[in-house]
Symmetry: C2
Subunit: 138 residues, 2 copies
């Protein structure tokens, strides 16, 4: 399946046709769209169901209109998000995950839930790290 698109990569075997560790592999760009500052939160928010632009903007707390728009374009181009413009006046635009986007969002939410769950340990680690280095906040 991968052979058509991996023309520039020397694949060691079929499973490794795409490799995010290789600088020029296109999978690295997609990993960045999916896990970038806003991409991950956008996919996570849409996992709950389709949303309009402004609903999405409220859910992804802190994102600017411009950044959300750029993020959605990159995810749409990668085939992870589907944009549906309703022929109403004013036009209503809904965003939803594609089946591929749902697969990706599931894996990402699995990571997000783990991190949320482990935050007490992570915050304790930060305190130990800072106090060992004498970085008092004073």
């Amino acid at each position: 399946m991968a052979e058509t698109a991996a023309s520039d990569n020397v694949a060691r075997d079929e499973d490794l046709a795409f490799d995010v560790f290789a600088r020029y592999c296109p999978s690295r760009g997609t990993l960045e769209h999916v896990t970038g500052r806003w991409g991950g939160l956008t996919l996570g928010a849409l996992y709950e169901g389709s949303l309009r632009f402004n609903e999405l903007r409220r859910r992804v707390d802190g994102v600017s209109e411009k950044m959300l728009s750029q993020t959605l374009h990159a995810l749409e181009r990668d085939g992870l998000v589907h944009r549906e413009a309703q022929p109403t006046n004013p036009p209503r635009v809904d965003y939803e995950l594609t089946p591929l986007g749902r697969e990706v969002a599931e894996r990402l939410l699995c990571l997000i839930r783990l991190l949320e769950d482990r935050m007490p340990r992570i915050l304790a680690a930060r305190e130990r790290y800072d106090s060992a280095r004498g970085d008092a906040s004073a």
Copy 2:
């Protein structure tokens, strides 16, 4: 467990004490360390075993010395990476995942493997997107 650090967040229930969707939740910073441009690749590389700085730099193709150093500090501070300096001359420094870092890296690799596997579909989606918009590369 989470109640001490989530003072500014209104938690809907215990599972949501930390919420990456909330702008000021500290879990968002950790998500960015883990999934940032180099954080994810660094965790993925260390999942295979402990590595020295220069080994890691070769594995994470394209990272600069400065960025790898910053990435490792952030991951060490979050308690995901352990830095072990051997008392040799010259000093030898090994980096390895902590048990918490292994948990996080497992989830992340699950996402990375899915993306690598789905790249043919993602590249086909990009072509459809670009040709529908007449963005010929000429």
